[in-house]
């Protein structure tokens, strides 16, 4: 950066003494050196002893191969792994110098999970669960230990009672061939597998009947729920996989899956992979064939109640069992016959007999159930084992670590599932809505600003509506005391609120009702009523204030009505008692005496409602100074309007009354102009929106639009009602208040429910209401 010194140097001026003094301390030692060496400063800046910005690393090279060093000897050495139960010896290469007896390096990684074990006593006394047996709990514990609490795996392998079976080993499964509800299919498959398994067949022939019975029981409910043919098709769909095991000749017989036992008998010799099975098949086949009729009977008839039906169905079953294999008919025939059999079986009353269904299919449990059981047991164990009070903190920690809320988990997963199974349309719609919401969100500030502007515009009228009567009242009072025509008033300091001045100025002759009604005046209660009570009592002064507070937006008309009444009342009175009259006249609806304290309708009026004060300048001033100044930007237009009305730009005779009227008039003109501007703007906006919606051809992305419209219409109704109330005069001001409140409420819901549209509608509606009002008022004036 160029300093003054540089400039001087450039112009070859001697640096001034002062500057030199200033700069001296900053001078770096290098500078003096540079001047000492006679190197130019710029050059010194480049090569001098400044710190380099780039960090230099000394280049490092790969160290050369150390040839002189002797190579380390390695030995092929046996080792034992202490992680193993047995003493298996493996060999590996190791440096010769290492200690052969050193502990195996990877032993330290052998970590097992620390599972809280429970004793059988503990189980019987504390851990019983109606849904869980001790064996199953032990099984769960076993799995937890085996899979180190990997719940996903535990749940995957969980099968109670544990069966030495390989699921899905022999069947295809691509998740597509689900013709029946998945669990049913899984069951059928699993069980057919079990029945098909030759090893099972040979080892436990007695089990065979159970297994195949089970097939039948699994099949029958399915046929009961679905149609018989459906079941048949699911069963025949199994056949290709099975027939791979079997030879081609036995394929047809295999097709008859309902005769599982027969299938087994034919399949067992065909399976080349099991010589053990082959060796023992004769015996197995014999037992199987012996049991075939009985099993088949139960299969098809689903254990009919009477012996007669059993016999019948046995006959039919054996007939169908032999028919396909002997006639070697097509698969469709088999399918037909089996399906008809199944349907008949279904029609026969399925009184499932307990003595045959001794086997329950493997129970699968959801992960939540498993986790719940595990954590519940752990919690109980912690509770019963750590009864010591000194361990309370630790116990609480442990308990919180074992906390598990099953229902919540289930709910969470269900919700996740829903989230993940949305259709593309749903996702699209959601995205569109999200974008729209974002847009609204982003526009919100703009909208609220517009809305605030609008409301401010409206509430200026509001304010003015009170200000009008107030000033009028003041004028009346001043006129009473000071007399008209003076043009100069001396404001009394005691006046805090114009409308409440009667209580002060006329303190001597104060009527009871006015004694404590000024919201800002301290409650001077003659009757000893507390301030709160006094305030709670309804009176004429409070009512308008409250209205303003309660319905600040939509109820301008109501305000106006009251204000107008008050204004007219006060304007008419020019005597010293005018204020008093005004007070009573503004509250002429109610008897203004102490009994009004008990007036329930307005007993909930809040205290301390602010009323706009008239600004009081100390000292004497001209009345024309009190003229409300018009904003310069609007001045011209206001003036134009005034000339249009045939009025001078300033009142010729600025008396209090005239000034009050004048202020009112100019204010009205300003508001009118503003509102007109707003109306124009909003109409233009509306047009744009309408065009846009028309071009959008009703995509239906804005469901809230309709509600906004209704909200808008509600607002219209509300303001319309308010207008009506205003028109009908002060007598119905309460009614108009209610209506106005309703209107504003409606508009609020409309706007909050959605979007700028609601706001705009509301705005336009209000607009359409107010200008008419204004014009009316103006005309009146």
């Amino acid at each position: 950066m160029a300093t003054g010194n540089d400039v001087r140097e450039i112009f070859q001026l001697k640096p001034s003494e002062q500057i030199r003094r200033v700069h001296k301390p900053e001078k770096k030692p290098g500078m003096s050196m540079s001047s000492a060496h006679g190197i130019s400063r710029e050059l010194y800046g480049l090569i001098g002893n400044n710190v380099s910005t780039v960090a230099f690393n000394n280049p490092t090279y790969k160290p050369k191969l150390n040839v002189s060093k002797k190579a380390v000897n390695w030995t092929w050495r046996p080792f034992m792994n202490p992680s193993r139960d047995d003493d298996m010896i493996l060999h590996h290469w190791e440096k010769t110098r290492t200690d052969p007896n050193e502990e195996y390096r990877f032993y330290k990684f052998n970590k097992a999970i620390n599972l809280n074990e429970f004793t059988s006593d503990e189980y019987t006394s504390h851990l019983q669960d109606s849904d869980w047996s001790l064996e199953e709990t032990n099984y769960l514990w076993d799995l937890c230990r085996r899979f180190d609490l990997r719940w996903v795996v535990i749940q995957d392998r969980y099968e109670w009672p544990p069966r030495e079976q390989d699921r899905m080993a022999l069947t295809y499964y691509n998740g597509n061939n689900l013709t029946a509800p998945p669990p049913a299919v899984a069951n059928i498959k699993e069980i057919t597998e079990a029945a098909v398994d030759p090893l099972m067949l040979t080892i436990a022939p007695s089990l065979l009947s159970v297994e195949s019975t089970n097939t039948s029981t699994a099949a029958t409910p399915a046929s009961a729920t679905g149609t018989g043919t459906e079941t048949a098709t699911t069963m025949t769909s199994m056949t290709p996989s099975e027939s791979e095991e079997a030879t081609a000749s036995s394929a047809l017989e295999t097709a008859d899956v309902t005769m599982t036992t027969a299938t087994d008998a034919t399949e067992a010799p065909a399976a080349p992979s099991t010589p053990i099975a082959v060796a023992q098949t004769p015996a197995a086949t014999s037992t199987a064939t012996e049991e075939v009729p009985a099993v088949v009977a139960t299969t098809l008839a689903a254990t009919p109640t009477t012996a007669a039906t059993t016999a019948d169905s046995t006959a039919s079953a054996t007939a169908t069992a032999t028919a396909p294999s002997t006639s070697a008919s097509s698969v469709s025939v088999v399918k037909d016959s089996s399906s008809t059999e199944l349907t008949t079986a279904a029609t026969v009353d399925a009184d499932t007999s307990m003595e045959i269904v001794s086997y329950t299919p493997a129970k699968t449990r959801s992960m939540e159930e498993l986790k719940n059981r595990y954590y519940a047991i752990n919690r109980i164990l912690i509770k019963i084992r750590m009864s010591d009070a000194s361990q309370a903190v630790e116990k609480a920690q442990l308990l919180s670590s074992m906390a598990y809320d099953k229902n919540r988990e289930v709910e969470r997963k269900k919700n996740l599932e829903i989230l993940n199974t949305r259709t593309p349309e749903q996702i699209e719609e959601e995205e569109a809505l999200y974008l729209e919401a974002r847009r609204i969100d982003q526009n919100e500030r703009k909208i609220t600003r517009e809305r605030e502007n609008l409301l401010r515009l409206l509430s200026t009228r509001d304010m003015y509506g009170i200000g009008g009567p107030a000033s009028a009242g003041l004028a009346g009072q001043v006129a009473g005391s000071g007399g008209p025509g003076t043009g100069i008033i001396i404001p009394s300091n005691s006046i805090t609120i114009p409308s409440s001045n009667p209580s002060n100025t006329n303190a001597g002759s104060a009527s009871n009702n006015n004694s404590s009604n000024g919201p800002l005046s301290p409650p001077i209660s003659k009757h000893g009523i507390s301030g709160a009570l006094a305030a709670a009592s309804a009176n004429a002064q409070n009512a308008p204030a409250k209205k303003r507070k309660k319905a600040p937006k939509g109820s301008t008309q109501a305000e106006e009505a009251v204000a107008a009444t008050a204004a007219s009342a006060s304007a008419s009175s020019s005597s010293a008692s005018g204020a008093q009259t005004k007070g009573s006249s503004s509250s002429h609806r109610r008897p203004s005496n102490a009994s009004s304290v008990t007036d329930g309708s307005s007993s909930n009026l809040p205290q301390g409602v602010q009323v706009k004060k008239e600004k009081l300048t100390p000292g004497a001033y001209l009345r024309s100074q009190k003229m409300t100044p018009i904003v310069s930007t609007k001045q011209q237009r206001v003036q134009a309007t005034l000339t249009q009305l045939g009025l001078p730009l300033k009142p010729a005779m600025p008396t209090a009354t005239v000034m009050a009227k004048w202020d009112q008039l100019t204010n009205n003109v300003v508001t009118l102009l503003d509102l007109k501007k707003q109306v124009d703007k909003l109409e233009a906006d509306l047009k744009v929106v309408k065009m846009r919606r028309g071009s959008a051809s009703g995509v239906g992305l804005f469901p809230a639009g309709s509600t906004a419209a209704t909200g808008g219409s509600a607002a219209a109704g509300g303001s319309g009602g308010a207008g009506a109330g205003a028109g009908s005069g002060a007598g119905t001001s309460t009614g108009s208040l209610a209506l106005a409140a309703g209107g504003s409420g409606g508009s609020l819901t409309g706007s909050s429910s959605d979007s700028n549209f609601g706001v705009k509608r509301e705005g336009t509606v209000d607009e359409t209401g107010t200008p008419g009002q204004l014009k009316k008022k103006k005309r009146k004036e």
Binding site: N110, R150, D156, M168, E417
Partner: protein
């Protein structure tokens, strides 16, 4: 410099010279743990001659080093379009690329004439692709399960004794199995390893888990599309989630059959190498001018040789459309010329896209499906079904690491297409597809995982030792290898 022990410590390796064997439906891979490529890869199929009189070949042993990673590389001079550039010579490949046709050697494995009529077994690429009258060819694997134990023993013999030439009693053995393998088969494996070969230690690992390992992931959704079948297996922290296993026998072989059908419908006969004596170049689409040898062969042998030609066709020509199949877009793609061994050649356009499209849309593209094939679903659907059957909290992880493996996924554009398809299924998960660009990694994913795992120091406590086997019996495998 670096301390060796630090390196060992950081990756936790501790080599015990274990053998890794992965027997798939089409290819068998065998090698030493800790290496990054199998020492040897050879076809799983074995050949045998039924009658003892049929085996009259000389015994030119070990002329059959199979060193080719590619499935089919017919080394005929006519294979002008074959992209055989991917051949990888192994370290042990002392013989180099030996043309299959020239090897007449019958490295007769002198063992095992146990109970069948089968006389002599022929294992290894050079052996089985050599024409012999009456030689039957068969793969012992079916649907990821062992179907023919005699043949499997031949494979093991060949792998350990002929290829690695190691002493089984000195090395622990780890083998891979399909995720849906049965208990009986694993027990038989265990018996075989301990009883016949006397391995000191043994382990069976799930191939899906190993593939996940090879890609460095504890959790993965392993999509394996091989010659025989396509499976999707969710892996959680090194454990297969059985309920999520989805599979169907839609693999490379089905695609090859479809290609064959395509040719047949155009009245083109696919004549394998071994039949061709002489041929002359012809214009595209013209009838081939060829002199055939009189070499009567069994249907299974002929089929295998045909399949090799078609395999080469698939590798050279076929491609997957990157987005959904669109006839117009496909029409604008360049055509690719291909010449069959007999000289017939043609420029292939849309056909070359239609074949791998079967993997994604079997309903529309699979011609003349069998009843079973009518149930096939597209690969994306299969993957989605698999993930969907897992716990919902685990699904994002699964979708975040979809691992692609298997030779059938090596079509150009396959991974891109799959990614595109998975993203067009509506769900709110982020899909990340891991498809190694390296062909070896894609083909030997499970072997690589086994190689990594068996060389870890922390793994050695998991081996089934001889002692444990003697105490418990073969069923110990079901307890220790879960």
């Amino acid at each position: 410099m670096y301390n060796t022990e630090d390196i060992m410590g950081t990756y936790g390796g501790d080599e015990v010279a274990a053998l890794v064997l992965s027997v798939g439906h089409t290819w068998t891979q065998v090698g030493y743990a800790g290496e990054d490529t199998p020492k040897s890869i050879f076809p799983t199929s074995v050949g045998w001659v039924d009658s003892p009189a049929g085996a009259d070949q000389g015994d030119d042993a070990d002329n059959s080093e199979d060193t080719q990673m590619q499935d089919v590389s017919q080394p005929s001079g006519a294979g002008s379009n074959g992209t055989n550039s991917n051949n990888i010579n192994h370290k042990e490949a002392d013989g180099g690329d030996v043309p299959a046709s020239q090897s007449v050697g019958a490295a007769a494995v002198p063992t095992k004439k146990k109970k069948t009529l089968r006389g002599k077994y022929y294992v290894g690429d050079g052996e089985i692709s050599c024409w012999r009258p009456n030689m039957e060819i068969k793969s012992p694997m079916k649907d990821g399960l062992v179907e023919d134990w005699d043949a499997l023993e031949q494979i093991w013999d060949h792998a350990f004794l002929k290829r690695l030439r190691c002493d089984p009693t000195e090395h622990p053995l780890i083998i891979t199995e399909s995720a849906w393998n049965t208990r009986e088969i694993r027990e038989k494996f265990t018996e075989l390893a301990f009883e016949k070969y006397n391995f000191p230690a043994f382990f069976v690992a799930k191939d899906a888990v190993m593939t996940a390992f090879a890609s460095g992931r504890p959790h993965a959704l392993v999509v394996d599309s091989g010659g025989d079948m396509t499976s999707v297996v969710p892996v959680y922290d090194g454990y297969v989630l059985r309920k999520g296993i989805m599979r169907q026998s839609l693999g490379g072989d089905v695609l090859s059959e479809q290609v064959l059908q395509q040719f047949e419908s155009n009245n083109v006969d696919v004549v394998p190498q071994y039949l061709i004596a002489k041929k002359s170049p012809v214009e595209p689409g013209q009838k081939p001018i060829v002199t055939l040898k009189d070499r009567p062969a069994t249907p299974s042998f002929h089929k295998m040789m045909q399949m090799r030609v078609i395999h080469d066709y698939k590798e050279s020509v076929c491609q997957v459309s990157e987005t959904s199949y669109n006839e117009q877009n496909i029409g604008t793609r360049p055509q690719k010329p291909y010449e069959l061994p007999d000289g017939y050649n043609l420029n292939f356009g849309a056909e070359r896209f239609k074949i791998p499209e079967i993997m994604f849309n079997p309903k529309d593209f699979l011609k003349n499906p069998t009843p079973e094939q009518e149930n096939f679903v597209g690969l994306p659907k299969l993957i989605f079904n698999s993930a969907q059957s897992c716990d919902i909290d685990f699904r994002p992880t699964l979708f975040g690491s979809v691992v692609l493996t298997g030779g059938n996924t090596l079509f150009p554009g396959f991974a891109d297409r799959l990614h595109w398809e998975l993203n067009s299924i509506p769900h709110s998960y982020k899909v990340k597809l891991h498809a190694p660009g390296n062909t070896v990694e894609r083909k030997c994913g499970s072997w690589l995982g086994g190689s990594i795992m068996a060389s870890l120091g922390t793994f050695h406590q998991l081996w089934i030792s001889r002692k444990e086997y003697d105490e418990t019996g073969a069923s110990i495998v079901n307890k220790k290898c879960v």
